[in-house]
């Protein structure tokens, strides 16, 4: 068996994280479960709206590369949102709340949340 061209000896003394393999720390937010589901994510989404929009736009660009007609994105924006009605409480209301506070179409928020199921093949 050929050696892994990208393999290396076991690293040591990498902690605390720093140097070229460390890109940064991660902020912490509180999600208050006592709030109505549609309001729980407001603070976080207000802070991360731009970043979330960038990710979703990136995924849409990839979809449009494979389906230049734009039909896939159109279906997601106009049909997939109806899927929310079939999702269990409180998740359906949380997704609606995220769509409301981000201004991102509900269908795109739903797709972002079921990416796992789509990509397991």
């Amino acid at each position: 068996v050929a050696p892994d061209p990208y393999g290396e000896d076991c690293r040591s003394k990498m902690y605390p994280p720093s140097g070229p393999t460390f890109k940064g720390n991660v902020p912490t937010y509180i999600i208050n479960l006592d709030l109505p589901p549609s309001k729980r994510w407001d603070e976080l989404i207000r802070a991360k709206k731009t970043e979330l929009k960038a990710v979703i736009q990136n995924i849409k660009d990839i979809a449009n590369t494979f389906f230049p007609s734009g039909k896939i994105v159109d279906i997601v924006d106009h049909k997939i949102s109806h899927l929310t009605d079939t999702l269990p409480y409180p998740f359906n209301e949380e997704l609606q709340g995220i769509a409301n506070s981000s201004g991102i179409p509900l269908g795109e928020i739903v797709i972002f949340n079921i990416f796992y199921e789509i990509f397991t093949v």
């Binding site: 690293r11 460390f22 079939t86 796992y116 199921e117």
Partner: protein, 253 residues
């Protein structure tokens, strides 16, 4: 992804993971990186879910994603989820959902429910092993007491395998890298062997969150898909997350 639950020689449990995501979702030739992986990094957040101003559980999430892929319920259990690829995949579950069969759980919602509602390691293990799912998955669960750690290999309908820690037989860690443990990993994507080599080299006597971070920093366990590394200890629900970069030369997955 790579998930590890390990027990040190005093019986203390550690749980850590590399979150890898974005395979085949756009390659940026200029920066030698996956575009979605890169765009996801600024969305990574630690979340503290509270009720009555008290922490119920903590997780590491992408902003906008309400399910859980890594989380800890303080003093009870730690949980990560790894993707399991199968021809009997999630698209069949979604198709069934559209046709009206809705007795399965969406993966992210199950992990969220378990972190929110499970009352013990065993309760979490039962729920993760027995609940019908829309897509196959690997659940990596750690507890608080010696021997409480396992990898649950799930099809959509059943637990195919549960691999438990077994200190008496020398199994002081369990590891999951997106392949069934009874099968060899794909030749082009063998992260399991190098991770096991580094864990064995570290030894049970020296295992800790910093030394597990070393394992998760070794290429190709660290690769171009790695978004972040999360380190967890069940005691008081300790969790820390770091965004990662894999400088060239680095495996694309």
């Amino acid at each position: 992804c790579t998930s590890i639950v390990a027990e040190d020689s005093t019986g203390k449990l550690y749980h850590a993971r590399n979150l890898d995501f974005g395979l085949f979702l756009g390659w940026d030739v200029k920066n030698n990186s996956w575009t979605v992986t890169r765009e996801l990094k600024p969305t990574v957040v630690n979340l503290d879910f509270q009720r009555n101003n008290k922490t119920v559980f903590r997780s590491t999430n992408f902003a906008g994603y309400i399910g859980m892929v890594s989380g800890v319920k303080p003093d009870l259990f730690t949980l990560t989820m790894n993707e399991r690829f199968s021809l009997d995949g999630g698209y069949i579950g979604i198709f069934e959902w559209f046709l009206g069969r809705r007795d399965g759980m969406w993966m992210g919602f199950l992990t969220r429910s378990v972190l929110e509602n499970a009352t013990s390691y065993q309760d979490a293990k039962d729920k993760l092993a027995k609940t019908r799912l829309l897509a196959p998955a690997y659940f990596i669960l750690g507890g608080k007491n010696s021997g409480e750690g396992c990898v649950i290999t799930r099809s959509r309908t059943a637990a195919l395998d549960i691999w438990d820690l077994d200190i008496k037989k020398g199994t002081w860690y369990v590891i999951e890298t997106n392949y069934d443990r009874w099968k060899p990993p794909l030749v082009l994507d063998n992260r399991r062997t190098p991770a096991m080599k580094c864990l064995n080299q570290t030894s049970q006597e020296n295992i800790s969150l910093p030394t597990i971070y070393d394992v998760l920093s070794t290429k190709p366990v660290l690769n171009k898909l790695t978004v972040c590394t999360t380190l967890m200890e069940v005691d008081k629900g300790h969790t820390e997350t770091y965004l990662r970069e894999c400088p060239d030369p680095c495996s694309p997955w």
